[in-house]
């Protein structure tokens, strides 16, 4: 009964979306207030109906209703409650329902908090958002309906994939989806602005919170996914350049570029067409991500149960959205004329460089991901593009970005002199070089990767500190003023510093990792990077829906015990699948990572041990970036004055621009 209610709610939501897509659009065109006003209640209703559908599906999972095909395929009565709930989106149909739920949530957000938008723009934004919603509702209802029943329900289910039964992966998809789908909002804003024929500073400001929110969740989602891969897959890798990882990374890169170029639209009324293009492309990449995961076109370790019909439907949605938006874009090129004037050395130019580097690095990821397909179809070459290519082709652009960032972020608008900024940054630069040299001296005969990474990390973190300090002005009372700076300033500094921390972490881990593979007897000890590891015991344990081999290790240094480590090797009998649960000893400067393997003929156990320097910095930096985004999002300018249409001051003098402190999110 509840299932049927959910199914019915989903159909109603689809119909509501169609109405919301059509009526407000006509209303906005004809300036009929009544028709435009349909948008807000429709958005609310659409969200509520989708919530009902989602709740109904969740209920079916929680109560293990095996008359539902989806529940049978992905659940089991013995599964812990947490994974019964997360199992809702641990499959294709359920994850699409979550996707569309978030689409309606963002639509609802505009309806509830968008009172400051001009009525026509709001109606059009909601209409475009509803078009996206309708397309995905149709996709769910016609190709991947989660509410299909079974003719004869089995006694128990086939269990969720054991790799997904993990807290890290349980919350990875929802975060990522909020990010992906958040970009649908910027897409809707871009298309609505194009229909409206008006792209100005106010638009730049309205769209910013949504871009920030989408980017923030993408950052968290990607970070969580990478952290999961690190501790779950058993060899401590954190990024594989897998097509599906790339699919989430491309929208991230584009949304970073868009965040920065939208600032130029907001402050200086330039880079408008570029920003609109980025908004369209970012959502395009989000949908390509959904397509890659579900079409089976590109082989991937992530590939969902792939189905050509679904792939074609998704491709159709992408084609219509992209061709439509880009045609509109070409037709309205005239409304996106730049107004601001700036010299070659200015923050505008710095942000332009930022955008070039980010979009080119996104292009590297794109062509690398798609090349196997192109090579096979066009050149009849069956080949692979793997991590070595991405490492070689992607890294130079990131290094260039890291080098330029501290300088670019301190440049004033319109016209700048490099000399003054260089003087402020010299101490930090010297310090960073010293750290890099020190690292170079301490390592013997290895690549320049580690020292370079530490140099960049120090340069970025130091640059962010100098940047925020320089905003406190001159004279006494600077420390006090530091805490009165707008949150967006802090957000910028924290996010930039976070990038530096991540860069340092990645470089150190890749360059200085140590690995040890051996057979150990119970009672035996080994040494890695100055730490001693003793295998105390190996036993068997029974989990709720798995059985495990559990090893007890004691980690010590200089005879002093640091901790116990218990790696597991689990076997899930229902899914007939083993997983490795690595044991980690986390530290500020290093992780020790132990994996227990198979029993050997001589009674010993295969043991893999890793020493991972600065491992946690990778995710620490990611969290810092997200905190930076959250700080920026909470800046009062976006809450209080977000709606007031600013009159741009084209004649602002240089002193004005440099003297105006606390302009958010520069």
């Amino acid at each position: 009964m509840i299932t049927e209610l959910g199914h019915f709610a989903l159909i109603l939501a689809f119909l509501t979306a169609i109405a919301q897509a059509v009526i407000p659009l006509i209303g906005a065109h004809k300036r009929w207030p009544g028709w435009m006003a349909v948008a807000e209640p429709a958005a609310t209703v659409q969200f509520l109906l989708t919530t009902i559908a989602f709740a109904a599906l969740t209920w079916a999972f929680v109560t293990s209703d095996f008359s539902l095909r989806l529940v049978t395929l992905n659940s089991h009565t013995d599964k812990p409650m947490l994974y019964k709930i997360t199992g809702v989106w641990g499959n294709h149909e359920g994850s699409m329902l979550l996707w569309v739920l978030i689409v309606t949530l963002f639509g609802g957000a505009v309806a509830w908090f968008g009172a400051n938008l001009p009525p026509t723009l709001r109606a059009r934004v909601l209409s475009v958002q509803a078009m996206i919603g309708a397309a995905f509702f149709a996709f769910i209802l016609f190709t991947s309906n989660p509410f299909l029943r079974m003719a004869s329900p089995p006694f128990n289910g086939q269990d969720l994939n054991p790799l997904l039964q993990d807290p890290g992966l349980a919350f990875h998809p929802p975060l990522l989806y909020v990010g992906y789908v958040g970009l649908s909002m910027t897409f809707s804003f871009a298309v609505a602005a194009l229909i409206e024929g008006r792209v100005d500073a106010a638009w730049g400001r309205w769209v910013r919170p949504y871009t920030l929110a989408a980017w923030l969740f993408l950052t968290l989602g990607i970070g969580l996914g990478s952290w999961w891969a690190y501790y779950e897959l058993g060899w401590g890798g954190f990024w594989f350049w897998d097509p599906v990882e790339n699919a989430s990374f491309m929208p991230w890169l584009i949304s970073v570029a868009m965040l920065h170029s939208a600032v130029v639209v907001e402050k200086r009324e330039s880079l408008k067409s570029w920003t609109i293009l980025m908004a369209i492309i970012a959502f395009g990449f989000s949908m390509v991500g959904a397509f890659i995961t579900r079409s089976g076109l590109l082989t991937s370790v992530h590939a969902f149960a792939s189905d050509p019909e679904r792939g074609q439907f998704l491709l159709l949605i992408i084609a219509v959205a992209m061709i439509g938006a880009l045609t509109l874009f070409a037709m309205r090129a005239n409304v996106m004329q730049a107004r601001g004037v700036f010299s070659p050395v200015s923050r505008e130019s710095g942000l332009l460089l930022n955008n070039i580097l980010l979009s080119v690095s996104c292009f590297v990821v794109f062509i690398g991901t798609m090349w196997p397909l192109v090579a096979e179809m066009v050149f009849n070459r069956k080949l692979t593009v793997g991590p070595p290519f991405f490492d070689a082709a992607f890294t130079p652009f990131m290094v260039a970005l890291g080098l330029a960032l501290p300088i670019g972020s301190m440049l004033p608008w319109k016209r700048a002199t490099l000399g003054r900024i260089m003087r402020q940054l010299t101490p930090v630069f010297m310090l960073a070089v010293a750290i890099g040299m020190l690292a170079w001296a301490m390592q013997t005969g290895r690549s320049a990767l580690g020292p370079m990474g530490l140099f960049l990390g120090a340069w970025l973190v130091g640059g962010a500190l100098v940047d925020i300090w320089s905003r406190t002005g001159r004279g006494s009372g600077r420390p006090a003023r530091l805490f009165r700076l707008p949150r967006a300033d802090w957000g910028k500094a924290v996010a930039h510093a976070g990038f530096g921390v991540t860069v340092a972490g990645i470089a150190a881990m890749v360059a200085w990792e140590k690995e040890d593979i051996r057979v150990m007897q119970v009672g035996e000890s080994m040494e890695i990077a100055g730490y001693a590891l003793r295998l105390d015991d190996v036993g068997r344990e029974q989990g709720p829906n798995y059985n495990a081999i559990v090893a007890d290790f004691t980690l010590s240094r200089d005879g002093r015990e640091i901790g116990q480590m218990r790696p597991e090797k689990r076997n899930y009998p229902v899914a007939q699948m083993p997983t490795t649960e690595a044991a980690l000893n986390n530290g500020f400067l290093r992780d020790i990572y132990v994996v227990i393997g198979d029993p050997q003929d001589n009674g010993g156990w295969a043991v893999r041990t890793y020493y991972k320097p600065l491992a946690n910095w990778i995710w620490g930096g990611t969290i810092l970036m997200a905190i930076g985004g959250a700080l920026s999002l909470s800046d009062r300018r976006y809450r209080v004055a977000a709606g007031t249409r600013r009159t741009p001051k084209p004649a602002a003098s240089d002193e004005d621009v440099q003297g105006s402190k606390g302009v958010p999110a520069e």
Binding site: W89, G90, N91, N161, P162, L163, H172, P173, G234, W235, F240, D242, V244, T293, T299, S300, V301, H302, A303, F304, A305, A338, G340, V341, F342, P344, E348, S349, L352, L353, I356, L357, S359, V360, F363, V364, G368, W371, V378, R381, K382, L383, T384, V385, G386, P387, P388, F389, F397, I517, R518, V519, K569, N571, Q576, M577, P578, G597, Q600, A651
Partner: protein, 150 residues
């Protein structure tokens, strides 16, 4: 929610990637073997190198690499030997030749084009005078008149 196929590799053989019995006695030779196998793809897995893969085939390929190294092959000989048997598909690092040059050169060319276009844009921006664009268009004038009338 993803990585389903990864497990196909795990299902077949619940092993580790590199096994202790595979490791060569000569650490220098072993390091070479690791470096080579990190760039070779496991054919039955998706996007995993033979160094990371748990599949039986990957183990065979790892042993083959070590065998060739012990026989005195150079790194290059070993890779060629593997490619001869398994095809270009095993190379995770696409070779820089023929049509693959498009792949390798695409980004640098794109970057060059981007910088060039940005350069033109910036030049344009820095030469425009604010007065030129601050003027109202015909449509804006009409709209202004409308607003003033009301």
């Amino acid at each position: 929610m993803k990585r389903l196929v990864l497990m196909l590799c795990l299902v077949a053989t619940p092993l580790f990637a590199v096994q202790p019995d595979e490791v060569l006695d000569d650490p220098f030779l072993e390091q070479r073997a690791r470096d080579i196998s990190a760039d070779l793809r496991c054919l039955v897995c998706r996007n995993e190198s033979i160094d990371e893969s748990n599949a039986e085939l990957a183990r065979d390929m790892r042993l083959l690499v070590r065998e060739r190294l012990l026989a005195g092959d150079t790194d290059r000989d070993v890779v060629e030997y593997i490619v001869d048997r398994y095809g270009e598909y095993v190379l995770l690092n696409p070779v820089m030749s023929g049509s693959n040059m498009v792949l390798w050169l695409a980004a640098p060319v794109m970057f060059g084009a981007g910088v060039l276009m940005a350069g033109i844009y910036v030049r344009n921006r820095s030469r425009t005078r604010e007065d030129d664009i601050a003027k109202l268009s015909e449509a804006e004038k009409t709209r202004l008149r409308e607003i003033l009338k009301n």
